[in-house]
Amino acid sequence: MEWETVIGLEIHAQLNTKSKIFSAAATKFGAQPNSQACAVDLGLPGVLPVLNVEVVNKAVTFGLAVDAHINQRNVFDRKNYFYPDLPKGYQISQLDLPIVGEGKIDIGIEGEVKTIGITRAHLEEDAGKSVHDMFDNDTAIDLNRAGTPLLEIVSDPDMRSAKEAVAYAKKIHALVQYIDICDGNMAEGSFRCDANVSIRPMGQEELGTRAELKNINSFKFLEKAINLEVERQQDILEEGGKVAQETRLYDSVKHETRSMRSKEEANDYRYFPDPDLLPVEVSDELLATIKAQLPELPLEKKVRFIKKLGLSEYDADVLTSQKSLADYFEIMLKGNESNAKLCANWAMGELSASLNKNQIEIEKSPVSAQDLSLLITRISDDTISGKIAKDVFKAMWDGEGGADEIIDAKGLKQMTDTGAIEQIVDEIIENNAPQVAQFKSGNEKILGFFVGQAMKATQGKANPKLLNELLRSKLG
C-alpha cells in the first residue's frame, strides 16, 4: 500500500531576554548550578510571578513576522504535572488564548514554494534540568533553566516528508535569529523541536494516529528520527497492527525511537487560568510600534539582493538562509557594492568551503568580512588576479595578516607594466615556433598554452586581461 506521511512540528524557541519570564533572575547559559534560580523560580510560598515586557514584545514580533493574528488579550494558564524539575507542580503556559494566533510561512522545497500554516505560538516557562547520572541513588536538580521564557511555535500538520519538516524548521530557525528573539543555539537547547508524525493510506482524508518524537537537537537528527518513525509505523500497519498515540524519545546513538510514556495519562494536565496572573493586553500602540520596528525579514532581504545587487535567485537564497551569513555578506558589501557578485561568489565559495572544512561557525571565521572585502577590492582594482587571490585568502586564513600585507610581503602584486609583459611575450613567441604556427593555422585553443607559459614566467602575476590582449595582437 502507498502511504502518505503527515508531520506537524512543535518548536520551542528560548527567547533571548536578560531575565526570566516571571522573575528577575538571570537567564545566562552555563552558570553555576542553581545560582540563577530565585524564590519565584523555586516556587517558594508567597511569591508572585510578574511578566517580563520583553517576552511580550518578542512574541508579538514573531507573530508579525509570520503574518499571524495577534491576540491582543491573551491569558496564562497552569499546566499541572508532577516532575521534580518543575518545583511548583505546574508550568505557566497558555492554552485557549495564546499570544500569537494563526499565521504562515513559505518554505522552498525542490524549487517549489510551499506554504506551511502556523497554528499558534504561545508563551511558557521552561522547566529545570534533571541530572540522572551524577549520583547513584538520587536525581540532581538544577533549576537555573526554570522560568526561562519559551515561545512554543506549533505548525499545522502540513508537511509531507522529513525533508519538508527540516526545511520548515530551518526557516523558523533562521527567522527567530533575524528578528533577534532567540539565539538559535541548538547545542545549548535554545531551539528544540518535537515532531508529531503519522501516516495514512494515500488519498485518505482522515489523519492516522500520531506519535510525538522528542529529544531532537539537530536538523540531521530531525530528518533521521522522522524517517525512522515512518518506517516503524508502516511496519506496524502493514502487519495489521495499530499505532499507539504516545510520546517517543529519539536516541541518536542507537538510532531508534522508544516509547516514553503513555500520552493518555500524561495529557491529563488539568489546565486552568493562572489566578496569579491577570490577562495580558497588547495595546494598539504597542502593536504599531513593534510593526514599525520590525527588522528586514529574510524574504525581503532576498528580494533586495536580487533587485538592487543583481544577484541570482539561487545566490540570494543561499546568502539569506542564515542571518550570520547575510550579515557577513553585507559587511563585505560596504564599499564594494559594485562587486556584489564577486563578494557573493567568495562568501559562498572559498569562505564557506573553508568554514565547512574546518567546521567553524561564520561568527568565528579567522578571516573577517572587512578583510575579505579588501581582498575583493584588490581583485577588482587589478592589484592581484582571482587566482592569486586564492593564495592570499589561504594566507589570511592561516593568520599571516591582511590582504595588502600578504600581497606586499609575498610580492604578489600583479604585473601591469605593458613593457615588461611584452618582453616576456616576445620571448615565448620566439621560443615556441610550432605552437605559433598552430595558432596561425586556426587552433584558437593553443592560446592557453601561451598564457600558461607567460604565467609561469611571471609566477602568475601577469595581468590576465593585458596578457591576453598582447598575445592576440602579437600572434595575430
Binding site: V50, P84, L97, T139, L278
Partner: protein, 94 residues
C-alpha cells in the same frame, strides 16, 4: 458522579494519599462540589465572554532587568538534600 476508581486516579495525579477510612467521605464531598458546578451549568452563558480573572484589570509588566542575585546558599540551607550545588530527589526514571 465520581466513584472509587476516579478518586484514585485524581489522587494519583495530584500526588495525594487518601486515607481509606475517609475515602467515602471524600467521594461525597467531591460529588457535592460537582453538583454545585452542575447547577451553575444550567445558566445560559452563550453571550458571556469567559472570565480569566475576577479582577477587571490587565497584567502589569516588568522591565527586562536582572536584579535577583545568587541566594542559593540560603535556599539550599532549607532543602531536604543537596549535593554538588544541586537539589537532590530520589532517583527519577523516565
Amino acid at each position: 458522579m465520581i466513584d472509587n476508581t476516579e478518586l484514585k486516579q485524581i489522587a494519583n495525579l495530584a500526588k495525594l494519599t487518601i486515607d481509606t477510612n475517609t475515602q467515602n467521605e471524600t467521594i461525597k464531598d467531591l460529588n457535592a462540589i460537582l453538583d454545585l458546578a452542575k447547577q451553575l451549568t444550567e445558566i445560559n452563558t452563550d453571550a458571556i465572554t469567559p472570565m480569566a480573572h475576577p479582577l477587571h484589570m490587565t497584567q502589569r509588566l516588568r522591565t527586562d532587568e536582572v536584579n535577583e542575585y545568587d541566594q542559593s546558599a540560603s535556599f539550599q540551607a532549607i532543602a531536604p538534600k543537596i549535593g554538588k550545588q544541586h537539589y537532590l530527589v530520589p532517583t527519577v526514571i523516565e
